[in-house]
C-alpha cells in the first residue's frame, strides 16, 4: 500500500482529517473541458498531485462505421473528426484514397485544396487560441477571434455550401470548383483577418497577466514530447521543426514558401506564439496559392473515380455504364495498404487504409493527433496548480471528435 493509498483509506473512514489529498473530477461536463473528457485529478490543496484522463465520451465508432460503408461514404464522417477544421480531414482522407489508387488530383484541385485546407487550419488555431485565452479570462480576445473565424466560415460556406459539415473533396479532385469572385472575397477576408490578428496581438501577447498565466506552465521537454508521439504545434513549441507539410511535402506544399515557427521551451506561451505565427504563415500560403492558381480541371478525368457528366450519361453507352457502376458499386481502389500523413490542425493526421479490392474498406484508421496530447496531460499538469489545468488543456486543443472518433 503506497502512502497515497494509506491516506485515501483513512480519509474514506471519515475520522481522520489529516488526509490532504482530495479527488476532484474535472469533466465530463465542465467549462474548461472543450470536448467531453474527464480528468480525475488529485489535489493537495491547490496543487495537482495526480491526474488521470478518461476519454471515450464522444466515441461514435468512426472506424467501424467506415468499414461498413463504401469508400465515398466515409467522406462525410471525416467532417465530424476534427470538427473545427473539417476540410483538413476531408483532404487527408481523400488524399489517402488517392494514394491507394496511385493517382493525383489535378493541379487546380490541389491548389484549391491548399487554400481551403489552410483556411481550415486558421479556423482551428483561432478556435484553439481564442478558447484557451477565454478560459483564463481574456473573453474579448475570444470573441474577436470568433469574429475572424466567422469571416473564414463564410468563405468555406461559399465554397462548399456548409460551414462545418463540408463534405467537399472527392477522390481525384473536389466536388466543386472555385465559385465566381471567390479569390477577391478571399483577399478581402484575409486582410480583415490580418487586422484582427494585429489587434489581438496588441491586446494579449505582451499582457503581463497573460504571460504570468502561461509562461513556464505545462512545459514538456523535447524528449518527452517525442516519446509521447507529439506532432504539430505542440511538438514545434518544444523546438522541433517537424511539419508534415514540409517533411513529406504532400500536395503542392513544396511549391509554396512558408516558414515553420518553432518555440524553445515547450510551455503554453510557446504554443500560443507558435499557433499565432502559424496563422500568419497560413495566410501567406493562401495568398501564394491564390496567386499561383492554375487553370484547368478541378476533377480528375479517370474513369470510375467520379460520376460522368450528365451529357455522357445520356449521350453514350460508356458514360451510362460508368454511371450505373459508380452508383451501384462505388469506388474500387486496388488492393493494398497505405498510410497517408497530412498535417491536420493539431498535428500529424494520418489515414491508414487497407483495401482488398472489393469496393468495401477493410480498415479505415485515422491517427488522432490529440490522442497523445491528452495522454500526456498528467505529465504536463502534475506539480502545477489546479488553475493551470485551464491554460494547459486549452493549449492542448483537444477535439472530442478527433480524439474519440
Amino acid at each position: 500500500m503506497t502512502a497515497l493509498q494509506a491516506r485515501m483509506a483513512t480519509s474514506k473512514s471519515g475520522a481522520d482529517f489529516s488526509a490532504s489529498v482530495m479527488t476532484i473530477e474535472i469533466g465530463p461536463a465542465h467549462p474548461a473541458m472543450h470536448g467531453i473528457v474527464r480528468l480525475t485529478t488529485q489535489l493537495d490543496g491547490e496543487l495537482i498531485v495526480g491526474m488521470e484522463p478518461e476519454i471515450g465520451y464522444l466515441h461514435r465508432g468512426f472506424e467501424k462505421e467506415s468499414e461498413n460503408s463504401k469508400w465515398i461514404q466515409v467522406i462525410p464522417y471525416t467532417d465530424r473528426l476534427n470538427y473545427v477544421s473539417p476540410l483538413l480531414c476531408n483532404i487527408g482522407y481523400s488524399m489517402a484514397v488517392e494514394k491507394l489508387y496511385g493517382i493525383e488530383a489535378p493541379r487546380r484541385a490541389e491548389f484549391t485544396r491548399v487554400i481551403m485546407g489552410e483556411i481550415s487550419r486558421i479556423t482551428d488555431h483561432l478556435t484553439c487560441l481564442g478558447a484557451a485565452a477565454m478560459e483564463i479570462g481574456a473573453f474579448t480576445f475570444f470573441l474577436w477571434f470568433i469574429k475572424a473565424r466567422e469571416y473564414l466560415y463564410e468563405l468555406v460556406e461559399e465554397m462548399t455550401g456548409a460551414r462545418l459539415t463540408t463534405n467537399w473533396t472527392r477522390f481525384g479532385g473536389n466536388s466543386m470548383d472555385l465559385p465566381d469572385g471567390f479569390l477577391s472575397d478571399l483577399a478581402d477576408r484575409l486582410s480583415k483577418l490580418e487586422g484582427i490578428m494585429e489587434e489581438c496581438d496588441k491586446l494579449l501577447t505582451r499582457n503581463k497577466i497573460f504571460i504570468d498565466r502561461v509562461k513556464d506552465v505545462g512545459t514538456i521537454s523535447k524528449e518527452d514530447a517525442l516519446s509521447y508521439g507529439f506532432s504539430g504545434p505542440m511538438l514545434r513549441a518544444c523546438g522541433i521543426p517537424f511539419d508534415v507539410r514540409r517533411a513529406d511535402a504532400y500536395s503542392v506544399y513544396d511549391e509554396l514558401d512558408f516558414e515553420i515557427p518553432v518555440g524553445s521551451t515547450g510551455d503554453c506561451f510557446d504554443r500560443f506564439l507558435v499557433r499565432m505565427e502559424e496563422i500568419r504563415q497560413s495566410t501567406s500560403i493562401i495568398k501564394q496559392a491564390a496567386d499561383k492558381m492554375p487553370e484547368g480541371p478541378f476533377m480528375t478525368d479517370e474513369r470510375m473515380l467520379h460520376y460522368p457528366d450528365k451529357k455522357d450519361v445520356y449521350g453514350n453507352i460508356e458514360g451510362l455504364i460508368d454511371h450505373f457502376k459508380m452508383v451501384m458499386e462505388g469506388h474500387h481502389p486496388p488492393a493494398g495498404e497505405i498510410y497517408m500523413p497530412t498535417e491536420g490542425g493539431n498535428g500529424e493526421m494520418g489515414f491508414y487504409l487497407v483495401s482488398d479490392g472489393s469496393g468495401d474498406p477493410v480498415r479505415v484508421r485515422m491517427r488522432p493527433p490529440c490522442f497523445n496530447f491528452v495522454q500526456a496531460m498528467p505529465l504536463m499538469t502534475v506539480g502545477h496548480y489546479v488553475a493551470d489545468i485551464v491554460p494547459i488543456f486549452g493549449s492542448v486543443n483537444m477535439i472530442g471528435g478527433e480524439l474519440d472518433r
Binding site: M1, T2, L4, Q5, M8, K12, T23, E25, T40, Q42, M51, E52, I55, G56, H59, G61, E63, K64, E65, E67, N68, K99, L100, G102, D224, L226, S227, Y228, G229, F230, S231, I240, F242, A247, P334, A335, G336, E337, I338, Y339, P341, E348, G350, Y352, V354, S355, D356, G357, V362, R363, R365, R367, F371, N372, Q375, A376, P378, V382, D404, R405
Partner: protein, 186 residues
C-alpha cells in the same frame, strides 16, 4: 500480408528499401515479409522479435525512429487472412526524414504481443485502444484497460465478427471510489 490482397501492383513494389535491407540484415530470421507499396516501406516481422526490433529502430543511428506514430490492428476475417490479426505499427524518424511500417501477424486464439510502451510512451494509450477495439493482449503493459468503451462493454467492436448494430445495455454511473483505483501510479 495475406495472399488475397497481394496484387500485381504490389509485386512491383517488392524491391527492398534501405531500412528493409537493414532489418533483414540485422534480424535475418525474424523478417517474414516486406513490401513497399506506394513507397510505404513495410516489414512483417515475427511476434517475439517485436521488442528487439523496436529497440533497434529507436536506438540505432541508421534508423533513429524517435516517434512511434500509431498502433493499430487489422482483422482479416473477411479477407480470410491467415493468421487472422495483424498488428500495424507506424514510425517516423525526424533525423532521416523516413517512415516505416512494422507488421506482426497474430493468431486468433493467441493474440498476445509484447507491449512497446517501455520504449515509446505513446504506445501506452494506443495499445489500450487496440486492446479495447480488437481484444489483443499486450504483455507487460502497465495498465491495460478499456479506453474508448466502458469497462462493462462485452466484446471488441472493431473485430469483423462484432455486428455493427449490436446493442449493449447502458450502465449505471458508479461512485467515484469504484471507478478509480486510488494510489495507482498516475
Amino acid at each position: 500480408m495475406s495472399e488475397s490482397i497481394k496484387s500485381d501492383e504490389m509485386n512491383a513494389d517488392r524491391e527492398a528499401g534501405k531500412l528493409t535491407a537493414l532489418l533483414k540484415q540485422k534480424f535475418p530470421n525474424d523478417v517474414l515479409d516486406f513490401h513497399a507499396h506506394r513507397s510505404d516501406e513495410t516489414v512483417v516481422i515475427e511476434r517475439d522479435s517485436l521488442d528487439s526490433v523496436c529497440r533497434f529502430l529507436r536506438d540505432d543511428s541508421r534508423c533513429a525512429f524517435e516517434i512511434m506514430l500509431d498502433i493499430t490492428a487489422v482483422d482479416g476475417l473477411e479477407m480470410n487472412m491467415k493468421p487472422r490479426f495483424e498488428m500495424v505499427y507506424h514510425f517516423k524518424s525526424l533525423t532521416h526524414a523516413s517512415r516505416i511500417r512494422l507488421k506482426v501477424p497474430l493468431e486468433e486464439d493467441d493474440c498476445r504481443i509484447a507491449s512497446i510502451s517501455p520504449i515509446w510512451k505513446s504506445a501506452d494509450w494506443y495499445e489500450r485502444e487496440c486492446f479495447d477495439m480488437f481484444g489483443i493482449i499486450f504483455e507487460g503493459h502497465p495498465d491495460l484497460r478499456r479506453i474508448l468503451m466502458y469497462e462493462e462493454f462485452e466484446g471488441h467492436p472493431l473485430r469483423k465478427d462484432y455486428p455493427i448494430d449490436k446493442q449493449q445495455p447502458l450502465m449505471e454511473l458508479k461512485e467515484i471510489e469504484e471507478r478509480h483505483t486510488y494510489g495507482r501510479e498516475l
